[in-house]
């Protein structure tokens, strides 16, 4: 069942891809006989054929997941998205402390240990990457505004 749903969703995407490949893409002039549209057309046909086979004969039937595992996964994805959103505004150190602590705590470490882990990852990670390895990490817009506004241009 899951296989069919997944293949169905992919089939819709592939059909859209095929429609674009067969109608929208064309070059005003081209030097090779195939042009930019033929290759995507071939690919879309192969993909649709594969998807039809899966729809006809699916093999994975159940996801085999507990409700708890679903919950953990959803929470992780939300945390990752929040981490991504806060990465620049809060800067690497603060956002990493937040993310590290919360994910670590959710996965079963004690609160104190999680805090220690998050803080270490944020501060040590920043020092290691920025000063030792010379990588470019966000200082955080908030902190930058407080300290020295001129750094902002260099960081972005």
């Amino acid at each position: 069942m899951v296989d069919r749903i997944f293949a169905g969703v992919l089939l819709i995407v592939t059909l859209a891809y095929a429609v674009i490949a067969f109608t929208a893409i064309s070059a005003p002039f081209q030097y090779d006989p195939l042009g930019p549209e033929s290759w995507p057309q071939i690919l879309s046909i192969v993909a649709i054929a594969c998807l039809l086979v899966i729809l006809w004969k699916p093999d994975a039937t159940k996801m085999d997941m507990t409700r708890k595992a679903w919950f953990r996964l959803a929470a992780t994805v939300i945390m990752l998205a929040a981490y991504a959103e806060l990465y620049e505004p809060l800067g690497f150190i603060l956002s990493t402390i937040l993310f590290g602590t919360s994910l670590c705590a959710m996965l079963g470490a004690g609160l104190v240990r999680s805090l220690v882990f998050g803080a270490t990852a944020g501060v040590a990670g920043y020092l290691l990457c920025v000063s030792l390895l010379d990588l470019n990490l966000p200082d955080g817009e908030l902190i930058e505004m407080l300290l020295e506004p001129s750094v902002q241009e260099g960081a972005s």
Partner: protein, 506 residues
Amino acid sequence: MEAVFSGLATGFAVALDPFNLFLVLAGCFAGTLIGALPGLGPINGVAILLPIAYGLGFGPESALILLAGIYYGAEYGGRISSILLNVPGDASAVMTTLDGNPLARSGNAGRALSLSAVASFVGGTFAVILMSLFAPVIAAFAVTFSPANYVALMVFAFASLASLVGKSTVKTLLGATIGLMLATIGIDANTGIPRFTFGIPDILAGIDFLIVVVGLFGMAELLTLVEHQVSGKLKALPVDKSFVKWADLVVCKWTIIRSSIIGFFIGILPGTGASVASAVAYGTEKRIADKDKTFGTGDIRGLAAPEAANNAAAGGAMVPMLTLGIPGSGTTAILLGALLMFNIQPGPMMFAQRPDVAWGLIASMYIGNVALLVINLPLVGLFARMLTIPQHYLTPLIAILAFIGIYTIVGNPFDLLLITLLGVFGWFLRKLDFSLAPIILGFVLGSLFENNLRRALSISGGDWSILWMDYKSIVLYVLALAVVIAPIWLGMRARKMEGDATHEKV
């Protein structure tokens, strides 16, 4: 032969540069660590660390030496969690658990670890030696390939991928096609027409390779770790004082040699990496050597076979990547993408144009293998302690590393969301028994495949028969057909033999 020696001289000059030497050692050490961590295999390790290695601003040969060190270091380290925890780091280490874990449980953990280190060393070194002999020959031959031959080569690569990798042929084929389709996004290089960009300026140049790799491998792996979250520590068996004996090596000598050969040649086949090699080597050894039915209960030969094979395959997989520009496994596909990021097109011309990169990499593998043996024998206790790092520290660390890598290179917070989304997609694919390696192979090979097809048809003026006009193409198509048919035929024969056996019992 002369070309080999002068090439090796160039290579060692590059690899013995103190900085590169340091990178070999650092890569091997980091790789062993990553391989030893339960659940993290070579492909995820290379995927997560690739953007960071790129961001450090090294020259192409140095970055590649570092990444390759991580790659075969992780193949090496995978045995530690297999033996002590009975949890394979990735598919290629599954076979190692069969005899390695029983050995450790019967109080021979130290012996099993040191024996497998020696087997890995022999397999790895054997592969590098064959590689330095074969690679220039194949490269010299491949220079004569026409675009039509390249199309045939791709068909062969995808055929062997579909028939040997993953549980379901259709799903592997679909995965490769998804990869090829992802590669068509962006501006068409021949005509300048944007395809599937929907006017989004960020993807005009195509979807960034790093984002696909880190998303599909790094982030999907992280979600899988969260899904299988076990609270508390895994129980690792202690490393005892037992050590490999000379008599063990004498018993295993033919096993190791046979498995190295099998591993190397399976590694060369495009698309099939260490996991297929170790399974075939174990199966073959079981048939040849298992007279007392001791395989699976802690037979040292059953441990040596897959370990020699998977390290030989890791080297073998490099051969088509370096000489033809067609990766032999998922991990080498990532290394190929790394080379492309440095504007180096791997393939037959690389040995002529960038001998420092090609031979430097090969020479670094000689050094790396020796270094791995040396750091693995005394330090195995240290790596074993890594096994007990609780998952709740490891998992956030993967995300933090992935974010650092992507942000450093791309510098755009939108891409951080994108890798999270790709991670969810990759997790779904894995959950549904798709293997991810074909997708990355398709993605990396997409433009090469399309451009050669279009070039071939430009030469013939649109006549498709050019694709099978010359003997090289025909040989490759025949090989492709053989690769697809052989497993089916062998499967049918095995079933028939099983049927005969049950008959005899009756």
